[in-house]
Subunit: 291 residues, 6 copies
């Protein structure tokens, strides 16, 4: 089971201006083959189907699976923030939703009520065929390492596509967290004997040119992994000591990050969302008072 904390893992600034194209690019991180829906589901399935008594690896999978649920929330909210205002701040001489015809994902406006969708940046719906779970521990860890590295590679590419503030904040946070996860899986393989030497991480990035990323690294976020549970976890048996990339010390932290507020999305009458008229609103208000 899981319980919910009504917070995002990282603060999300308002978008400096609406940007449906950047929003659509970010969809890759949500519903792409190497996005957060996939990491969440892949680790969850590997955790559930785990066999044998090497439980610290099972705990490790559970912790990261749980963190990824929060990443799904973070990136979804970022997409929404990037879409916000794109129809209302438009030229008043234009039709309210005319912007939809110029956007790379018309479904943001036509199917959803100006919000994110479980698809990738090219519009392909997320598919469970992405989930890899071979039952073999070494293979699963190796694949997860690649999954994180590929996710981070794509986010480094995303970083260079737009400098919108909200976009950059989330992309940078995920670059840092993907690096931490890459270390977790690399470390797990190190405990089984692999010496990565200088091959990892991939991609090799000079974060001195990525100020938003560098700032988060200064908080040591790229070397830490929370357990995302109040229970005992074997994660710390694996994730401690020298980094598998020979760049410092890694550490396991109990629990989860402090978190930041989830943005409130205003009504979007042009989208009929939530679409409550005066009568339905008054019903709802009576309900609120009824306590």
């Amino acid at each position: 089971m899981f319980t919910s904390i009504n917070k995002l893992p990282n603060p999300l600034p308002e978008s400096d201006e609406p940007n449906p194209k950047a929003a659509q690019a970010l969809q890759e991180g949500l519903g792409g083959q190497f996005g957060e829906m996939r990491t969440m589901m892949q680790y969850l399935f590997q955790n559930i189907n785990f066999r044998g008594d090497a439980k610290p690896y099972q705990d490790l999978l559970r912790s990261i699976a749980t963190e990824e649920m929060g990443h799904v929330e973070l990136i979804s909210n970022t997409i929404n923030v990037l879409l916000e205002g794109s129809t209302t701040q438009a030229d008043p001489n234009k039709l309210p939703l005319a912007v939809a015809l110029e956007s790379p994902n018309i479904h943001h406006f036509l199917v959803a009520g100006q919000s994110c969708r479980p698809v990738d940046a090219a519009g392909n719906p997320w598919s469970a065929t992405y989930v890899y779970d071979s039952g073999n521990l070494v293979l699963n860890m190796l694949y997860n390492l690649i999954l994180e590295a590929t996710g981070r590679l794509q986010k480094c590419r995303l970083y260079e596509m737009s400098d919108n503030k909200a976009y950059r904040a989330t992309v940078s946070y995920l670059i840092v967290r993907d690096l931490a996860h890459e270390k977790v899986f690399a470390k797990a393989l190190e405990t089984l004997g692999v010496d990565w030497n200088k091959t990892l991480p991939v991609p090799k990035v000079d974060t001195s040119k990525m100020p938003e990323v560098r700032e988060l690294e200064e908080l040591n976020l790229h070397n830490q992994q929370w357990t995302f549970t109040e229970e005992q976890s074997g994660l710390s048996l694996i994730f401690s000591g020298e980094s598998p990339f020979k760049d410092g010390q890694v550490e396991t932290l109990d629990g989860l990050p402090k978190g930041a507020a989830i943005p409130n999305l205003p009504e979007a009458p042009q989208e009929f969302s939530p679409g409550l008229d005066k009568e339905l609103k008054s019903k709802f208000q009576n309900l609120m008072k009824s306590t």
Copy 2:
């Protein structure tokens, strides 16, 4: 964000005998169009994309989304328990995995290591095209009601396909919880004005002929909804008072059910799962001692 509790929502007895066909039937409840992966994702997206200030409905979505994560775990573990033993308890004159050629989902044995897959009972992979989120509150609540009712309809059909103990335990629990969820969404629509009269619930089932279901109803599990959070939730504003089906009182409970142990899956050497040889095992054991 979410945190993890290492428990299942309901106790899971061992399977009285391995049953790959029943396991495959249960896949509908996991990866089917009306299964738990879908409810979990649909409510999560509706929660994230919620607009306006009718927050109790947003809280309601978050609570049930979180519960569904635990249902994904419950049904996955049940499939695994049904598969367990199917290869090792087989005729010693037969090949270890010969049973795979007689099973409705050869991928259980060939792709996964004798465990569940994110597919439906006909083998179709789960697809995010299933997720419905229109942005419109009334439509979303109506759809969610149908989603739960259809899920329960399918589980009532599943109930009559096998009487395996582990299978029945989980199917029955989900029949009861789907009914509770059906009530939550029916009640939400009632707060907005709908009078369901005698049309709901669907399906109409005489649980006196379903002893495992009846037993759970005696615990009142079909009238309760947990918040699945330690925080305040507006859920209780909606889900309290008379049942929308006129069959008693419903209630909101803070937190989550007590939970039950998650089964341990033994090694499956015939599947190379987890596939650690003596040397890798000894590495792992050193790790365990290192604490």
Copy 3:
């Protein structure tokens, strides 16, 4: 069986100017998850698989399924009209099909001969996974209600994306007819006991700001349902009397609307469509004379 009438249900003006982007947006109404191909197929399957003696509901499904076949034609023709001229009216200094590289659906020009395709507005092909048929009467009627309401919601959003004349004519007609269908299914559920009070219709729209829609409402098209057959139909048992939305009287009409001409598409030599050279044309002309 079905027979064909060589007419569209509603007149289709010429497009005031070619508009491939509006054409692509309209594809959602043709091949989208809540478009006309889906309604047509869903009602057809529910009609065929109907069980028991509540035949008026079966008749109802058949009538609307048949109407939807005509809607598929109407919206397809509208897309074609919107595409017409987009290559020939282009800048003579440009290549004939250069416009294809700037259009949201290059397949309109590259795969089809400048005409519609069975896909949605994001380019996803229509899939039979969309078809819902649970076998349960109440669930089917509820789902159909949502299907019509969601279709209308999307068309109301489409309305605000372009004011092209041909586009608006068809979008408006479908907004009105979807409302009629929403009423049919709401009424069907009312006959079984549901009181919708003020929750429906969704979306709630002020058609005084949608002149093309208002005009059609003045013909009472939003309160009428044809049987689309010359035979007896039980539809009128269900669809008569007060509107389930308490906004007037609804009525069942025998037969079908008068209809309007289907546009003729000219040859498109730049598309090799139909691609008959002089010799093949002369063969065809001889054929015509042969009568």
Copy 4:
């Protein structure tokens, strides 16, 4: 537009015994890549997107598209008849739906209420990617010829898989009608210049060994094509005179076949289909009396 006639194109005997495996095999003819849903949709799209003034070919497409709608009904009803009784005639010592675990398509019982689904014989959902419409007249006619020939090839294979009476009746009817359609498209190409010599039809079948097929050929059903409209049609300009396969005379008939009764499916309480309890039934009965 289209209108509905509440009849099947060919009489459908009751199944001599329930046969879920034969039912699933028949799904290929319904939802397969070369099945009736595809022919119906392909010809409908080609008809709508037709360019230029060679209208008899457009009429031809419309007539066959309309006939295919009735074939969808015929084959769907046949699948239903083959499924009927499979659960109720089962061993009373077994669970009501236990047969579902032994059937090739569990969805017939679990998702639908013991009825057909828009999928092929391997369970793949029908997809609009199947629809071919190039805009080019010669290519479209050639493809349609192959489509009919491949459909007939598959039906000839289906014929040899089971001798169930209802199954054979429909398979045989479709073998004959597919041959007629193969002739229509071959003839259309002949009018443009192709001489098929002895290459067609494919497959070459000795129907003296297929008594049910032979019987229908004796009615000349393999040489006739109805217009499926009460209006003028150019079809007869193309489809008349000597068969393109040099095996007799072909002819165009106005209107449509006389038709036969559509079977009534009884209630299936084990499937909760239609699932009306006493109260809902009484509501429905009052409705019936209200006239």
Copy 5:
């Protein structure tokens, strides 16, 4: 088995300017329903599954299957050449990958490292559902004829979408080779009895207005078919003598074309491709010296 020749079938000029839109249009020829991946796979499967002793037709399939492998290479390289420079030649005031947000296929930049993908021009991944193999010789040959004709039709449309030099070079080569293949399959059917008269080829194109195509025809490339093997092939039994389109003589050539250099793609550090840092490069350089 197959062996590799490190050459392209036709010379590939550098692109005169980067053109991501033309690159994406070309994807149809690579991963589209009628593109080179499909022809290659369809003929390979038909070759492998061939039954009976009409071996020249089997040889024919093998030769063209092998040629198509080289076409996959040619068109992939052309897409890469069209993408090359699109990020580096961009405005230095812009972000390195900002062009990705304006491109029709963001995956070219975000998923691949600025290179081609196995998808069509609308972004749909190639699917093996495209592969047609009925087992029937006449049907297979007929379908292959349509496949080539449709491929050529689409390439003729592509020709008119851009005049980029690299784009035109490859499109023109494929127009000519598709015509040759169309002749091969038409000829194969002629050997079995069909007389095509003037219906073929489709499309009918005046290549005097397509100088790049005309130039290749002057080399007689539209009348020749290589065997793509050093072994004996029955191809020449079929493909010799008068063209089935009555436009000259066709001929079978042993072996394969002379070929042209495959372009070298430079490093793309903005894409982390290949992403070797100094240390990894020095390892690689040591490796090179080690010989």
Copy 6:
């Protein structure tokens, strides 16, 4: 470009008895997510899209891509051999194709003419979404290593599902070759710095219990890699010296294996394959004589 050699890489004995279930299991190795179509396409795309001057790795990809083409042929032919006789050797009192209703993939008989299909063992068509090509050299090599290891894991599972002679011959050959490929990619990563220690290979298999595998290992087939070209290849720079798994010496061989005969499939008149009647056969025979 490629050229064809009309041989299989390994001898293929006749199947000791027809086995449609084993045939369908083998489909995973052909059209599965980790099957030969995927390895072939993944390496081909990575080869084409290769950037920079580390050409030996590009050569390596080309060699293995080319070998995989032959594996596609080998496994396809094996499936065909397993299907052969399943209909003709059946009970003469049964219908010719009745076996199709009892087979896990009815499409083998209904769609193909008793032969293989481009699908996996659960019937899912192969999809290009499987192809991984990140542009990053280290990631690509790591992924390819997993791809081979997972393919071998699945083949080791397949080994234990049936002991049919033809099945075992091919499964064993692929187990050995996948191990060789796993070594190639592991070695490639070793040249960049990774020390695998005892973590590889996965799976760890005791081949003394797999006699067919052991026999091939005695030929050293698990330590060799052919270049599959007559040209220079940089492969030997990478693949030579000590095995990355510390189990001996690896070596690069020029050219390709000697190869073995491809089986001839007889006519299958019950499948209308190839479906030539007396007249068409005589046309073909005249053609043969014409030389």
